[in-house]
């Protein structure tokens, strides 16, 4: 019989919030809501990392996923103008997909539940916390080549993303209708409007409470 204190309440709460928000992120009608739920999932994962005392990774997770990836995703949702999608009626193919997903889930969870070797592991962590300094030393000494390669990959990805998403020449027959206001944020403010420059901040104070 297990004691009540044996049940990892904190972990179960984090896991429940993360899983529910993940399900929401995959099933909501409104894509922006999906994106926001995804953020919650990422935060939940970061909390799990903290729970596993992997501080550095947890904060990096928040910085990269919440601060960058999620923002990119919501930006893309707005740029592609499909915040609201019509949730297609449950089709046969999506049922097949669900079936496959459940099968995968079963095949992953079943061995875990039945495996005797996992239970033999000590139920507490052995190692001390990962010091940031140690991570840095590892990164700059043992993992320096992967680090450089990663830098190269990120640079290439940045250039690639810019090139792919760059608008083609307007002369080429781009069948786009009139630009949408979401896309237009740049061009509205890009126009050399004198008012933007001339309005000094003095006026801005009057509106504050």
């Amino acid at each position: 019989m297990r004691m009540l204190s044996d049940i990892p309440i904190a972990f179960l709460m984090i896991a429940a919030v993360t899983l529910v928000s993940a399900v929401c992120a995959m099933s909501l009608r409104n894509l922006v809501h999906c994106g926001l739920c995804l953020v919650l999932t990422f935060v939940g994962l970061a909390a799990t990392y903290l729970h596993l005392s992997a501080e550095f990774v947890g904060f990096a997770q928040v910085l990269v996923y919440v601060g960058a990836v999620a923002i990119l995703i919501v930006f893309t949702i707005l740029l592609t103008r499909n915040a609201e999608v019509t949730l297609s009626p449950v089709s046969q193919s999506s049922l097949v997909g669900l079936g496959i997903a459940i099968a995968v889930c079963g095949s992953l969870v079943l061995p875990l539940v039945t495996s005797p070797s996992l239970r033999r592991l000590p139920a507490q962590s052995l190692a001390p916390d990962a010091q940031v300094q140690r991570i840095g030393e590892k990164l700059m000494a043992q993992y320096v080549i992967p680090l450089e390669a990663l830098a190269l990959v990120l640079t290439a990805a940045m250039i690639g993303a810019v090139v792919i998403a760059m608008r083609d020449d307007p002369e080429r027959n781009d069948p786009s209708p009139s630009p949408q206001n979401q896309k237009d944020t740049g061009s509205v403010s890009n126009s050399p409007a004198g008012t933007a420059l001339n309005s000094s901040s003095s006026t801005s104070s009057s509106q504050r409470p």
């Binding site: 972990f11 896991a15 993360t18 899983l19 993940a22 399900v23 992120a25 995959m26 894509l31 995804l38 999932t41 990422f42 994962l45 799990t48 990392y49 992997a54 990774v57 990096a60 997770q61 990269v64 996923y65 990836v69 990119l72 995703i73 893309t76 740029l79 592609t80 103008r81 499909n82 999608v85 999506s94 097949v96 669900l98 496959i100 997903a101 995968v104 889930c105 969870v109 875990l112 539940v113 495996s115 996992l118 592991l121 507490q124 962590s125 190692a127 001390p128 990962a130 991570i135 992967p146 990663l150 290439a156 990805a157 940045m158 993303a161 810019v162 792919i164 998403a165 608008r167 781009d174």
Partner: protein, 103 residues
């Protein structure tokens, strides 16, 4: 302390949720979100195994996750750029419309 297989089951469930989303939804962005979830589930596995491994001082799992996060950032940027480009071309991000490469 939470036993290791709790984390593994959690990661498996998260993976399955991502997979289900990627399989069931038609929108390319949602599929990408599903893929991100799967990637994160894998990361969670790495962290969990690192924490419980007898050689945790080597930080192998941690390093793997750090690099994986970096790669995921690149992947998301390029993936979303491709989605925007597809949207320009097809006026849609529904994946069933993007099937030019078929037999």
């Amino acid at each position: 302390m939470t036993p290791l297989h709790y984390y593994l089951i959690f990661a498996a469930l998260l993976f399955s949720v991502g997979l289900a989303g990627a399989l069931m939804r038609r929108n390319a962005i949602l599929v990408l979100i599903g893929i991100e979830l799967m990637l994160n589930a894998a990361n969670l596995n790495f962290i969990a195994f690192w924490r419980y491994s007898p050689t945790a001082n080597e930080l192998v799992g941690l390093m793997f996750v750090l690099f994986s996060i970096g790669i995921a950032a690149a992947e998301a940027a390029v993936g979303l750029a491709i989605i925007i480009s597809i949207y320009r071309h097809h006026r849609s991000t529904q994946l069933q419309h993007v099937d030019r490469l078929k037999g």
